[in-house]
C-alpha cells in the first residue's frame, strides 16, 4: 500500500504552471481568470498562463486531488456563474514538498559557490 509520502513524491517535480496555480490558491479561493491574474501579478508579468494551459492544468489537478472545486459561493461579491477552486490539504502538502525540493536545490547551488547574477 503506497503511503501518502510516496503519493507526494510521485508528484515531484511539479510543472511550473501547477506550482504557480497552487501558490495562487494557497490563501484564497479563486476562479480561473483570477488565477491567471494572480500568477501574472505575483511574477511581475513574467508568467501569463493562457486559458488553455490553465484549464488543462486545472482539470488534471482536480483529478489528482491537488485542488477541488468549491461547491458554493462564499460571499455575495462572488460571480454566480464562475467556477471557484480551492487548494486541498493534499495540494498544500505537495506544494510544501515542492518548495522544500527547490530550497534544497538552491542551497546545493550556493554550497557549490554559485552566485546569482545581480538582477
Amino acid at each position: 500500500m503506497p503511503s501518502e509520502f510516496d503519493d507526494v513524491q510521485a508528484m515531484l517535480p511539479l510543472p511550473p504552471a501547477t506550482f504557480h496555480i497552487l501558490l495562487a490558491l494557497t490563501n484564497d479561493v479563486r476562479h480561473g481568470y483570477a488565477i491567471i491574474q494572480d500568477v501574472e501579478t505575483r511574477t511581475n508579468g513574467e508568467l501569463r498562463l493562457s486559458a488553455g494551459t490553465l484549464y488543462r492544468s486545472v482539470a488534471r489537478m482536480v483529478e489528482q486531488g491537488l485542488i477541488a472545486e468549491v461547491a458554493k459561493r462564499r460571499t455575495a461579491a462572488d460571480d454566480e456563474r464562475r467556477r471557484y477552486y480551492r487548494i486541498t490539504p493534499f495540494g498544500t502538502t505537495v506544494a510544501r514538498a515542492e518548495m522544500r525540493r527547490l530550497t534544497d536545490l538552491v542551497r546545493l547551488a550556493h554550497a557549490s559557490g554559485l552566485k546569482p547574477r545581480p538582477a
Binding site: G52, A59, R60, R83
Partner: protein, 861 residues
C-alpha cells in the same frame, strides 16, 4: 465568439462540458484587453496544443485503465487476443500469397504490356500454352503484326556442366537476343546478347542468373569473359542478370543464345519455341489479339498442310497462372474473409458479454458523473488495444504459416517462390485489426452508452432481451461460417481421395529413378548410347536387391509431352495435334520395372536391333482406337517415317497425369531409333530401378557405375517414383491443408462461441433457474433446456451455412474433380461435426445449470 466556440470543439466532450464556459469567459476578457484580432490569434495558438494535450492525457489514462482492467480479467484478454490473432493471421497470410501471385506487378519493365504467345487449337479453345510455336510461325507473328514493340523467343535447354566438382545438370534456356529488351530488364553486370548483327557473334556466349553466378563463381565481379563447359562446349560469360530476374520460371539458371538458321524455318510443324512480346504504347491487349488473329488466319490459308488446324493462344504474362491456382487462391481468400467474419462475431460476443457483466460498474460510473463519451471512448480504447495485440500476434502467426502457404505459389510463375511479408502486408494486417477492433468494439460500446444509468441499475444483472438476440445471431453466424468451411474442405478431401484412387497404370513402390541426360554431339548417334546403356543397365541389374532396371526417354507424369503422329494403313491421314500418341524409346525390362502388365504378344527384347524387323509395343487404347475387336499382333503402322510391326500390347498408363486426358502410348526399342535422329526429348535418359525396400540406399553404387561408364556424365533428378505420384496431388494436398486448418479453427471458434454464450446465459439466468428448481423442476430438465438452446442455435446456423456452402462449392466446382456440390456424405458429416461441437460446448454450462443451488441463487440479488 462563434469562432472561439468552434475552436473549443477540438477539446474532448467531457472537457468541454466542464470548462468550455470558463474558457469562453476568459476569451471575452482577452478580447477586451487585446482587441478582437490579437485575442483570436492567441486563442488558436493556445487551444490547438492544449486540446491535443488533453486528448493525449485521456488516452494515457484510458490505456492505464485498460491495462488494469485487462490484467484483472486475463482470461478474457487472452481469448480476445488469440481470436483476433487467428483472424488477422489467416487473412494476412492468405493476402500475402494472393497478392504475390495475382496482384503484385512482375519484376519486368511495364509488366502489363508483356504478353505470351503459343500455338493452340484453331477454334481458340483451350487455355494457357497448348503447344510451342515453330520458328516459321513465330517469324510471321513477329514481323507481320503492327501492335508489338518486339518479340523474343525461348526454348528449354538444360545442359550438363562439368566444372570444378561433380558434373551437374543445369536448367538453362536458349533465348533470342530480343528477349531481354522485350522484358526490359538490364543485366546487373556486363551485357545481354547483341541484337544488332543477327547475334552470330554471341553464339558461344552465355548470361548467368544471379543464383548460378553465386554458386559457380562465388559472386565474383570479374566474371566476364570466364568460360563454362556446357555439354562439352565452352561458353564465355558476357553478363549476369539481377536476382529478381527469373524468366521464364525460377528454374532458369543461365541463358544461351537461340539463333535460327534458314533451315530452321523450313518446317512449320516443327514446334519447340515459346514467344514473349511487348505491346506498343497505347495498343490494347485485344488489338494485339486481332492483329495476331489476322496473321494466323492467313497462315492457315497459305499453309494448310501444317497450319489448317493451328491457331494461337495469347495471354498476358501476368495471367500465366493455371486457373485452378487462381480459383484456389480466391477460395482461400474467401475462406479467410469468413474467418475474419467469425473473428469479429466472436470478439463482438466476448465484448457484449463483458459489457453486460460490467453494466452495473458502468452505470455507477455514469451516475457519478462520467460522461457518455468518456465511457464509449474508454471501451473503444480497450478494444483497439486488444486488436493491436491480436494483430501483432496474428502477423507472427502469418510469418510462421508462410512456408506452408508458399507451396501455393504456382511453379510456372517468373517469381521467386517464397512470398515475403512486407509493408503492404503489414498495412493490410493493420486494416484487418482496425476492422475487428473498431467495428466490433463500437457495437457494444454504443449499446453501453445508450443505456441510461437508472435503467441499467434497475435492470440488475438480468440483461436485455435484445442484446441476447444479437448474441444468439452472432453465434448462429459463427456456426454458419464453420459449416461453409467444413463443407468446402470436406468436398476437397473427397476430391483428393478420388484423384488418389485413380489407377496410374503402373506401380511406383520401390522404384528409384534418376536422369543421365546424354549430351549432344557426343551421344548423337545410337552406337555410343547403346554402349552406355548396356554397361549401366547390366551393372545396375547386378546390384543386390535390384529386380529390374530400364531406360526410358521419359518418366510417366514427368515427361508429359513427347507426342508423335502415326499413320495407320486403312486410316485417313492423321492430324498430329489431335491424334498424337505418347511416343517413348525404352530398353527391355521397362514394363516389368514399372509393373505395366503385358496384355498380348511379347515385351521388347535385347535382339530387337536395327538390322532386324522394326517393332513396337502399343497400349490397349491404341488398339481400341485403330483396330477395335481385331488382333493387333503383326499389324503395322508408321511413326517418325518408319513402318513398325506391333509385337505386343500393354495396359494404358496415365502418362500425362492422374487428372488429365492421356494419349495412347507407343513404345519402341531404344536400339531401333528413328532414322531422322532424336530430339533431346526422345533420347532415353531416365533410369528406372525397381529395388523394393532399398529406397535411396542404392544411389551411391549407381552413381559410381555411371561415373565409371562416363566420368563427365552428371546425375540429376534423383527421386522415388512414388514421390512423382505423390506430386500429382501435392498442390491439392497443400490447398487442402490450408483450407482444412481454417475449417478446424472455425469449428473451434464456433464451439467456443456457443460455450461462451450458454455459460453467460446460465450465469445471468441463475435466479430464474433457481426459481424453477425451487418449484420442483428436475435438474435434468434444466440441463436439457441448455442443451436444446445449443441445438437450436446450431441448427439456426447450419441452414444458412449449407446454402452458403453449396454456393461456394458451385463456384469452385473446377477443383472438385466431379464431386457434386451437394454431396450428401460431406454435408451430413459437416452438419454432424458442427452439432457435436455445439453439444460439447454446451456440456459445461448444462452441468452448471443442473447444479444451481436454488437458495444461494435466490439470495444473490
Amino acid at each position: 465568439m462563434r469562432f472561439y466556440r468552434a475552436l473549443l470543439r477540438l477539446y474532448p466532450e467531457s472537457f468541454r462540458a466542464d470548462y468550455a464556459a470558463e474558457l469562453a469567459r476568459t476569451f471575452e476578457e482577452n478580447v477586451r484587453h487585446r482587441g478582437r484580432f490579437g485575442a483570436m490569434v492567441a486563442a488558436v495558438a493556445d487551444v490547438v496544443p492544449n486540446a491535443l494535450a488533453v486528448h493525449w492525457a485521456i488516452l494515457l489514462q484510458d490505456l492505464r485503465f485498460t491495462a488494469r482492467t485487462l490484467n484483472g480479467s486475463r482470461g478474457f484478454a487472452i481469448a480476445a487476443v488469440l481470436i483476433t490473432a487467428l483472424g488477422v493471421g489467416a487473412n494476412t497470410a492468405t493476402f500475402s500469397v494472393a497478392d504475390f501471385v495475382l496482384l503484385r506487378p512482375l519484376p519486368f519493365k511495364d509488366p502489363n504490356a508483356i504478353v505470351r504467345l503459343c500455338e493452340g487449337p484453331r477454334d481458340g479453345s483451350g487455355w494457357g500454352c497448348m503447344n510451342e510455336l515453330s520458328p516459321a510461325n513465330f517469324r510471321n507473328a513477329a514481323t507481320d503484326t503492327r501492335s508489338f514493340e518486339g518479340w523474343g523467343a525461348f526454348t528449354g535447354a538444360s545442359v550438363n556442366m562439368v566444372g570444378s566438382g561433380e558434373p551437374v545438370r543445369i536448367g538453362g534456356y536458349r533465348v533470342t537476343a530480343q528477349l531481354f529488351p522485350v522484358l526490359g530488364v538490364p543485366p546487373m553486370i556486363g551485357r545481354t546478347f547483341d541484337t544488332t548483327q543477327a547475334g552470330a557473334a554471341d553464339a558461344a556466349s552465355l548470361v548467368l542468373s544471379w543464383g548460378l553466378w553465386q554458386t559457380q563463381f562465388g559472386g565474383d565481379q570479374q566474371v566476364l569473359g570466364k568460360t563454362l563447359r556446357l555439354d562439352g562446349v565452352p561458353y564465355s560469360v558476357i553478363g549476369v542478370m539481377p536476382r529478381t530476374f527469373q524468366f521464364p520460371d525460377e528454374g532458369a539458371q543461365l541463358w544461351m543464345p537461340l539463333i535460327f538458321r534458314d533451315d530452321d524455318y523450313s518446317d512449320r510443324g516443327d514446334t519447340y519455341i515459346h514467344a514473349v512480346g511487348r505491346l506498343k504504347n497505347g495498343v490494347t491487349f485485344e488489338q494485339g489479339r486481332a492483329d495476331l488473329a489476322a496473321v494466323f488466319d492467313r497462315l492457315a490459308r497459305d499453309f494448310p498442310e501444317t497450319n489448317a488446324e493451328t491457331g494461337f493462344s495469347y495471354f498476358r504474362q501476368r495471367d500465366f497462372v493455371l486457373p485452378q491456382f487462381r480459383l484456389m487462391l480466391l477460395a482461400l481468400t474467401g475462406a479467410s474473409l469468413c474467418m475474419l467474419l467469425l473473428t469479429c462475431a466472436n470478439i463482438a460476443n466476448l465484448l457484449l458479454a463483458r459489457a453486460a457483466s460490467r453494466e452495473r460498474e458502468l452505470a455507477v460510473r455514469a451516475s457519478l458523473g462520467a460522461g457518455r463519451d468518456r465511457l464509449v471512448r474508454q471501451m473503444l480504447t480497450e478494444s483497439v488495444v486488444l486488436a493491436v495485440m491480436g494483430a501483432v500476434a496474428g502477423v507472427v502467426a502469418a510469418a510462421l504459416a508462410m512456408p506452408l502457404l508458399s507451396r501455393l505459389v504456382p511453379p510456372t510463375m517468373p517469381l521467386a517462390s517464397v512470398p515475403v511479408l512486407d509493408i503492404r502486408v503489414f498495412a493490410i494486417a493493420a486494416v484487418f485489426a482496425l476492422l475487428t477492433g473498431l467495428g466490433f468494439g463500437l457495437l457494444p460500446a454504443i449499446r453501453v452508452g445508450g443505456t441510461t444509468g437508472f435503467e441499467a441499475l434497475r435492470e440488475g444483472a438480468r440483461g436485455g432481451g435484445r442484446r441476447q438476440r444479437l448474441r444468439s445471431t452472432l453465434v448462429a453466424l459463427e456456426v454458419a461460417v464453420s459449416v461453409m468451411l467444413l463443407v468446402s474442405s470436406g468436398l476437397l478431401i473427397r476430391a483428393v481421395l478420388r484423384v488418389q484412387a485413380i489407377d496410374p497404370g503402373f506401380t511406383s513402390d520401390g522404384v528409384l529413378t534418376l536422369r543421365t541426360a546424354l549430351p549432344s554431339p557426343k551421344y548423337d548417334s545410337a552406337a555410343p548410347r547403346a554402349v552406355f546403356y548396356d554397361r549401366v543397365l547390366s551393372q545396375v541389374r547386378a546390384l543386390p536387391g535390384v529386380e529390374q532396371a530400364a531406360y526410358t526417354s521419359g518418366l510417366p507424369m514427368v515427361l508429359t509431352g513427347g507426342i508423335a503422329g502415326v499413320v495407320v494403313p486403312g486410316y485417313p491421314e492423321q492430324n498430329r495435334r489431335r491424334d498424337g500418341v505418347s511416343f517413348r524409346l525404352i530398353s527391355e525390362d521397362f514394363f516389368d520395372a514399372l509393373r505395366i502388365p503385358l496384355k498380348m504378344g511379347r515385351d521388347l527384347e535385347e535382339n530387337d536391333t536395327p538390322d532386324r524387323q522394326l517393332v513396337a509395343v502399343v497400349s490397349e487404347s491404341f488398339v481400341e482406337h485403330y483396330w477395335p475387336g481385331q488382333d493387333p499382333i503383326g499389324r503395322t503402322f508408321e511413326v517418325r517415317a518408319q513402318s513398325r510391326t506391333v509385337v505386343g500390347v500393354v495396359a494404358d498408363i496415365k502418362v500425362r497425369g492422374l487428372e488429365r486426358s492421356n494419349e495412347p502410348q507407343v513404345y519402341i526399342p531404344a536400339r531401333q531409333p528413328p532414322d531422322d535422329g532424336l530430339g533431346g526429348l526422345y533420347v532415353p535418359k531416365d533410369l528406372v530401378i525397381r529395388a523394393p525396400g532399398q529406397g535411396l540406399a542404392l544411389l551411391p553404387a549407381v552413381r559410381e557405375i555411371i561415373r565409371t561408364a562416363d566420368v563427365e556424365q552428371p546425375v540429376s533428378s534423383v527421386r522415388m517414383m512414388s514421390a512423382v505420384l505423390e506430386g500429382q496431388t501435392e498442390t491439392r494436398t497443400a490447398q487442402l491443408r490450408v483450407l482444412g486448418a481454417l475449417a478446424i479453427l472455425a469449428l473451434l471458434l464456433a464451439g467456443v462461441g456457443i460455450h461462451g454464450l450458454l455459460a453467460f446465459t446460465v450465469a445471468q439466468r441463475g435466479r430464474e433457474i433457481g426459481v424453477r428448481l425451487a418449484l420442483g423442476a428436475q435438474p435434468s430438465l434444466v440441463a436439457r433446456m441448455v442443451v436444446s438452446e445449443a441445438a437450436r442455435l446450431t441448427i439456426l446456423g447450419i441452414v444458412p451455412g449449407l446454402i452458403g456452402a453449396w454456393a461456394a462449392a458451385r463456384a469452385m466446382r473446377a477443383l472438385l474433380f466431379g464431386i457434386p456440390p451437394e454431396d450428401p456424405l460431406t454435408i451430413v458429416a459437416a452438419a454432424a461435426l458442427c452439432l457435436a461441437t455445439a453439444m460439447l460446448g454446451a456440456l459445461r454450462p448444462a452441468i452448471r445449470a443442473a447444479r444451481v443451488n436454488p437458495i444461494s441463487a435466490l439470495k444473490a440479488d
